[in-house]
Symmetry: C2
Subunit: 276 residues, 2 copies
């Protein structure tokens, strides 16, 4: 059995190396030149297999790191089809300047998803929250997806699409209380799972969020293998990662800096409340 | 003074929102519509200012998360010019399938860099380690850059270019011992700073690495603000992130899976030893 698990991980590695989870991996090939016989997969635990359809939505100004932590986790799930989805096929510039090429447009995205995911951002997120095509896409796919998920202020997009009404959820610490405006109950946790809604806290929470979802979909042992592959044994050089532990002067600076953002979100929430 | 620091952070936020550190931020504008007078910057501590030239090199099959953690940190440094550099301007596919558009080719990259950075990967990294144009670029820019840096198996690329000979360094845990082949002394730390060489451990170590470098360049208070902005207060759902803490069965699977990679690196190191 260990040997068979190893073969599966080899397949996963081959999928990673070949540039796209689900391509080689889905056919059970290892990272040797010998393809593994397909029936090998029958000998492994059912929870190690999968063919999830995962859509990760991007929009101009999204925060790349919100997306790339979870994408690492999802992309390590053998057989999963992980697509970067955007309004158009045009390259999308993230908030720190990285430019990504989407795989699919909203129209091209699978109708029935296992995971619908959205990252956060600042000005770009405010735009996404008020863009009709974006909201229509989230309402449609989010209404049917097995898991409806976000990291950071991505939960505000879910909220604006009416997908968090009556759910517990989280967001980046500066925006968490804003969730009330969309009928959600804010929770101060690294990630929050309420029925099929899974929301992560700010930016780097995407890694904790991603591993938790992998564990839900593929089991704890699989998630632990992904964690070790990512060498996710964090040792931040400072303990300023939470408003509870950061030096008050640093926290107050950021709070001041985000006041206009919080006000904008509140305004969008009030407008949304009329139509939700 | 706090007010002035806040203005600077506002400028940083504007830089993020506008999609690229160094654009608006370099001119001292806040995220209000009012541009800040340039002379304001004179009133703030010298270490809060900067105009670093940072080149982050990508190649087909690199691990996106190795890059995006540090890029978040560097991209939050006001005034810094952070460029994604590749052999050509063609979009580059990372190992989990994400596609990035480079900003510059090797030829277009600044001759004198403050930070030269390279992420890791698996098969793609082996190719980069044996590609003449890539090695020539690293030898040239790495010979003059103020900081020569990597995350994960990116240190093997630095090693192959002869940039780690006689230096302490680290890498992804499965490849760390391979560094000896390039004349480096492997160190089991989250990140290792030896003179101007800064190397991070596997994948997610990029966040710890990135904050440590921001602290070197802009001071501890700046790095703490970036940490709080990233809500980097990690809470992994398992404690499997290090070979010391992962379940032995998971660790042994990955070790087995990476043996062919380790052997390939060893072969490249032996070949490189003749010319370094």
């Amino acid at each position: 059995m260990i040997m068979t698990k190893r073969d599966l991980l080899l397949a996963a590695a081959a999928g990673l190396v070949a540039g796209g989870a689900g391509s080689i991996a889905a056919h059970g090939a290892g990272n040797t030149s010998e393809p593994k016989p397909y029936h090998d997969r029958m000998e492994t635990p059912a929870h190690w297999h999968g063919s999830e359809k995962i859509a990760m939505v991007v929009y101009p100004g999204f925060t790349a790191l919100d997306l790339v932590g979870p994408q690492y986790c999802f992309g390590s799930m053998m057989g999963a089809e992980v697509k970067l989805v955007a309004k158009t096929r045009e390259p999308v510039r993230a908030d720190t300047g990285l430019v990504f090429v989407p795989d699919q447009t909203f129209d091209e995205c699978s109708a029935d998803l296992d995971i619908l995911f959205v990252p956060g951002g600042l000005a770009g997120t405010l735009k996404a929250m008020t863009d009709d095509a974006t909201l229509a896409f989230f309402k449609d796919r989010g209404g049917r997806a097995k898991w409806v998920t976000s990291v950071c202020t991505g939960s505000l997009v879910l909220g604006a699409a009416g997908l968090l009404k009556g759910y517990k959820a989280t967001s980046h610490w500066v925006a968490r209380e804003n969730l009330r405006g969309f009928g959600a109950e804010p929770v101060d946790e690294r990630y929050v799972i309420d029925r099929n809604r899974v929301t992560g806290a700010g930016v780097t929470a995407g890694m904790d969020f991603g591993l938790a979802l992998v564990a839900k979909l593929r089991g704890d042992d699989y998630a632990q293998a992904v964690q070790l592959l990512a060498e996710y044994d964090p040792k931040p050089p400072f303990s300023a990662g939470s408003p509870k532990t950061a030096p008050p002067v640093v926290r107050d600076m950021l709070l001041e800096m985000f006041k206009p953002f919080q006000a904008d979100v509140q305004r969008i929430a009030e407008s949304a409340a009329k139509r939700l």
